[in-house]
């Protein structure tokens, strides 16, 4: 296996200056806000209708060269044309033509599982008139990597028997199943979920709302929306822009006692932007 097949995105031009923020501004906000607008999250939210395709943006494909790996293909349009972090930790800022697609190798899910998780996450945190959601943020990529990493297999959880599966919530999760197993089992009951329409998907999720699987999926969707892009989700810092979080900032010294009562929204920057990204995310540890 030579090289790291992180992206197969012909026609995608590197464009370090263009971020998701600019993309949305150009596509959606131009009418209302000029380019010096620093309050992007609010800008996105004030647009009455965002033209984001809600149909399935993920297309299944199978690589002949890499039979053992499964891929998800993300339509570049669906993720706003920009993907910041590649799987091997290298930074790539890609600005895509709208009809192009980006292929992402999966570490844990099968293609079908990936499609189901992507569809379910986007019903939990949907793309709608209030802005982009789990699909655009790449939440499924985040979840896939977490499950493939030490957390997914309970590397740091106390797993000695006996297990008391039905213990009260005050004891924390006492089950034997690892997050990987919870997902695998949960997904078996959601076969063809990604082919349902939105109302049917919502109905299917309501059926499992009280399950451990759903609570994990919901929690992981939040994490994938709002954790640093280094983990595969929150692509282009979509999640942070939506809520007005600027990411890690080395200093707020000059600002903390200003802006009382008004939104102060510095342009978001990821940990990599701030520190040069020397750290290794936990999901890449053994």
């Amino acid at each position: 296996m030579s090289g790291n097949p992180t992206y197969r995105a012909s026609g995608i031009k590197p464009s370090p200056q263009r971020g998701l923020q600019e993309h949305f501004r150009e596509k959606c906000c131009a009418l209302k806000h000029s380019s010096e607008c620093s309050d992007v999250p609010l800008a996105i939210r004030t647009i009455p209708r965002l033209e984001i395709p809600l149909a399935s943006n993920y297309v299944m494909i199978r690589s002949r060269k890499m039979r053992r790996r499964e891929f998800l293909t993300l339509s570049a349009a669906s993720i706003g044309g920009v993907l910041v972090y590649s799987l091997d930790g290298k930074v790539s800022r890609l600005s895509a033509e709208l009809e192009q697609s980006i292929r992402i190798p999966l570490r844990f899910f099968s293609q079908e599982e990936g499609l189901i998780v992507a569809a379910a996450a986007s019903r939990i945190f949907p793309s709608d008139e209030n802005g982009p959601g789990a699909r655009e943020a790449g939440v499924v990529v985040y979840i896939d990597r977490q499950l493939a990493g030490p957390w997914g297999r309970d590397r740091h959880r106390y797993t000695q028997e006996p297990f008391e599966e039905n213990a009260p919530a005050e004891f924390g999760y006492q089950g034997k199943a690892t997050p990987r197993e919870v997902y695998r089992t949960g997904l078996r009951n959601l076969k063809t979920f990604h082919q349902l329409d939105a109302a049917e998907q919502d109905a299917a999720l309501r059926q499992i709302e009280t399950s451990n699987f759903f609570s994990l999926l919901r929690r992981n969707t939040i994490e994938g929306m709002f954790s640093d892009p280094v983990h595969g989700g929150n692509m282009g810092m979509i999640g942070w822009q939506l809520i007005g979080f600027p990411g890690p900032r080395m200093s707020n010294f000059d600002d903390i006692e200003k802006h009382y009562g008004e939104a102060f929204r510095p342009k978001p920057a990821s940990l990599h932007d701030v520190t040069g990204g020397k750290g290794r995310p936990i999901e890449d540890e053994p």
Partner: protein, 587 residues
């Protein structure tokens, strides 16, 4: 097991107390000192890359690896204990610096009457007011005895704050209810975020006495008496569960290691998990000979030492005493025995969650920056007509605002848990939500204690520590009172909607509260009812000292770090000035 060359002093645990003792003995004596730390090494400059909420606050990168060892928990002796399989109500640290690396750095002193809680309470309210099941007792020291050491601890950390009582003179703008202080804080208060400013104005308008939270995330560059310089805080907001990327937050690695590194007589061995304190059965006076430990490769060692300090945090201190068969285990049925008694966990709640119309810019702040008031703390207010004893401060802090943990906190009016409505509420409320915190006393009860678990084992096959712990009506009613005051204050702050805390029911081990879990090897004036004497020296094994909050008989309404540092200074003085000259009982 390989026996190593003997050393003068072995210190078990490389956190705040262990490294402070290493620094004090290392610089004041020529003793050979070895610190055994089971986690890995750390450098003070390695934190630049840790501003990652997922890895540090959600996956708990700095905490103990529970796959190797955890504790079991039950509410009462009638219940079956289960292991805490993932981190929950407290977060044990590991590695050099221990939990002192990832604390919030709130640094208030305890109220003077905390140290004489039993005497003061019955003096004022009579013994009949004490809860039925209590085992409250005095510490065996007074605030006045500890005050000079509090001052040293504040100077060590460079605590930022505003004094409210200097030698009995009350000062407006500080905490007028605090115990007398011999001097002002080493550095001025930190800056005040918007939410905390709203809190201050509301507290003033109601007639309370708000003041800046004393914190070891310091307001300006500071050089401590040891010559160690740290920069001022930049309010990046990554404090609790993170190491400070610039070193503004006092941590053992940036405050104590610079001195320890210069001392040739002190060495720190990491990856060294101590399994037993080894007693000398041949000597009549009862001494310990050293400790046995396993290194990172699995090899076992015996480290002989003349003097042993147990400084491995509340729970591990107590567990090592049990595993080493030192002292008599506490029996709740008879009240006999001392090891494991008086287990407490501070009442630490978000008393009211307030939702505002205006954005709060909550990403700016530090773990300790904010405003608090103590009008309902300790016995500052009269409890004659109230259905509980003690109390605690209410706090308007800027901490805990990162998005993964903070975005799903929504007003009760939002019913949806997922989907568009829920998403919209998250977007609307994320930066318009603030917490009014309450930190309250936890009294000691006969039924709250520790022992060894009969079922679950650690990586070596040793039994896990078992916690038996639940709230009583005193804490429940105290929390109820605080919640009511917090809700009133939230409205006075102009909140559009307020969610009161659901209060304390039974102890919830799954939800983070604080890491202020205490007791198990408590101090006192009687060897029948305590494990160590007022100098933290073991009553029976005179060359063994047990440092840290395992010695606190009750849990007070403030973070324990400053108090346990002050106690460690006091013990270091007693060891250097008295014990080394004449190794015998200090009390």
């Amino acid at each position: 097991m390989k026996t190593l060359p003997s050393v003068d002093v072995v210190i078990v645990g490389g956190g705040w107390t262990g490294l402070l003792m290493a620094k004090e003995l290392g610089s004041r004596t020529a003793l050979s000192i070895v610190v055994l730390e089971r986690g890995g090494p750390r450098k003070s400059d390695e934190y630049a890359n840790d501003m990652d909420e997922l890895d540090y606050s959600i996956r708990f990168r700095m905490m103990q690896d529970l796959s190797l060892e955890t504790v079991t928990f039950r509410h009462s002796a009638a219940e079956r204990a289960l292991p805490l399989r993932q981190h929950g109500s407290f977060l044990p640290g590991t590695g050099v610096g221990g939990a002192g690396e990832h604390w919030s750095a709130l640094s208030p002193r305890y109220l003077p009457d905390c140290f004489e809680l039993y005497s003061r309470t019955i003096e004022k309210y009579g013994a009949a007011r004490l809860p039925e099941d209590h085992c409250i007792q005095d510490w065996g020291i007074t605030y006045a005895e500890l005050e000079p050491h509090y001052k040293r601890a504040e100077l060590l950390l460079g605590v930022s704050g505003k004094a409210g009582n200097i030698r009995g003179t009350q000062i407006e703008g500080g905490n007028i209810f605090e115990g007398w202080r011999s001097s002002e804080y080493p550095t001025p208060p930190t800056k005040v975020p918007y939410f905390s400013e709203l809190f201050r104005q509301a507290a003033n308008s109601v007639g309370y006495h708000p003041y800046p939270i004393p914190g070891a995330t310091i307001s300006q560059p500071y050089t401590n008496p040891d010559g160690v310089t740290r920069p001022g805080c930049t309010y990046c907001g990554f404090c609790e569960t993170y190491g400070c990327m610039i070193g503004a937050k006092a941590q053992p690695t940036n405050t104590l290691l610079p001195l320890i590194a210069k001392r040739k007589n002190v060495s720190i061995r990491t990856g060294a998990t101590v399994r037993r304190i080894v007693q000398d059965t041949s000597r009549k006076n009862g001494k310990a000979r050293g400790v046995s430990y396993v290194d990172a490769t699995g090899q076992e060692f015996f480290q002989p030492a003349e003097l042993i300090f147990l400084a491995s945090w509340t729970l591990n201190n107590t567990r090592l005493l049990f595993l080493s068969s030192i002292g008599e285990p506490y029996d709740p049925a008879t009240g006999r025995g001392t090891v494991g008694r008086n287990l407490t966990h501070q009442v630490f709640i978000s008393a009211a969650t307030a939702f505002f119309e205006k954005p709060l810019n909550r990403f700016m702040g530090s773990g300790a920056s904010g405003i608090m008031f103590n009008d309902f703390d300790g016995d500052v207010f009269d409890h004659s007509e109230l259905p509980f004893l003690r109390g605690g401060p209410l706090l308007g802090r800027s901490a805990r605002s990162l998005p993964v943990g903070g975005c799903d906190v929504l007003p009760k009016s939002v019913q949806a848990k997922w989907g568009s409505e829920w998403k919209k509420a998250m977007l609307d409320y994320y930066d318009r939500t603030g917490h009014i915190g309450f930190i309250g006393d936890h009294l000691a009860y006969k039924g709250n204690y520790m022992d060894l678990d009969a079922t679950y084992k650690d990586q070596f096959g040793d039994p896990l520590l078992r916690l038996t712990l639940d709230w009583r009506d005193n804490e429940r009613k105290m929390a109820e009172f605080a919640i009511q005051k917090a809700v009133e204050l939230a409205h006075a702050m102009g909140a559009m909607e307020v969610s009161p805390s659901s209060g304390l029911k039974s102890y919830d081990a799954s939800r983070y509260q604080s890491t202020h879990i205490q007791g198990g090897a408590i101090m006192g004036v009687s060897s029948e009812r305590s494990v160590v004497n007022p100098f933290l020296q073991h009553w029976q094994i005179q060359n063994l000292f047990v440092l840290g909050a395992s010695s606190f008989p009750q849990n007070a309404s403030a973070g324990p770090t400053l108090t346990l540092l002050a106690q460690t200074y006091r013990t270091a003085d007693a060891v250097v000035e008295r014990y080394l000259k004449n190794p015998s009982a200090l009390a």
